[in-house]
Amino acid sequence: MKGQPPTDQSDKQAAQEEEGFDRLVRDNIGWMLFLAARILNDGTKAEDAVQNAFSNIHKGLENFENRANLKTWMHRIVVNEALMLLRKDRQLKELPIDDSYPLFDQNGCRVVDQAVTWETAEMNLTAQQTREIVRDEIAKLPDDLRIVLILRDIEGVSTAEVGKLLELNEPTVRVRLHRARVALKKRLEPLIVRGEL
């Protein structure tokens, strides 16, 4: 790549392309690794996903014409690679029967939950600390809910696009999104009650 000087026009072009790819990798690897780690909950596997993603990007770059949407295209590739690894590693867990979904009585009235309290004396958390707690609580959600929440509410991917990525129809994506938010809300209630969020 940065070895012998180019001897003819095609060598020169190849060298320029490689330099361009080198720059593309260095400019984008940070956010791609971060995103893959968020999806996989695993730093080592995230590196595998990013490596596979760049391999596909390199293959597809020549024919990719819409340079304005380069980042969107790369985003989709790395998400796909991370999801493939996640599926390979373990089936996305089915919707769990948990206690996070709201309860209603026989009249359809909301049964108000008694707020859970955390055993921590720490108050007035910094913005960084609350972000870390939110991040940790998201990481604890079941995969099928967590992924939808990450893609929709953090990455800003549309419902239709999430459906395509996860091979789900839109109503299912919406149900999972709502369940994910409700489950997260329940986990964050101690912070919400204390006005820390």
Binding site: G3, G30, V50, N107, C109, Q114, R131, E189, L197
Partner: protein, 100 residues
Amino acid sequence: MNLLVDRTRRRIHGVLFRLPGIVNCEEIEGFILDYLEDELPKCQRQPFNVHLAMCKSCRTYLADYKTTLTATAALSNEGDIALEDVPEDLIAAILRPRCP
């Protein structure tokens, strides 16, 4: 909330929610996503708002739901991993197949 107060509240609401044009909390739950995305049909918007006006627990629930959304969205502004923290051997592995 005191359990007795909650039970009394639900008993009163149980009567109110049987009135025509009034939806109950369980139905509201199914409207929340559409409501927040401004996709709630006009015919459902009014019953939704009427319910919220008379049900404190749903108002609190919705406020907490929105707080959760805001806290989640805040993560989208997180900086990515700085280049110096990316393992150099990973960058080398990505670039290696194309080295002469």
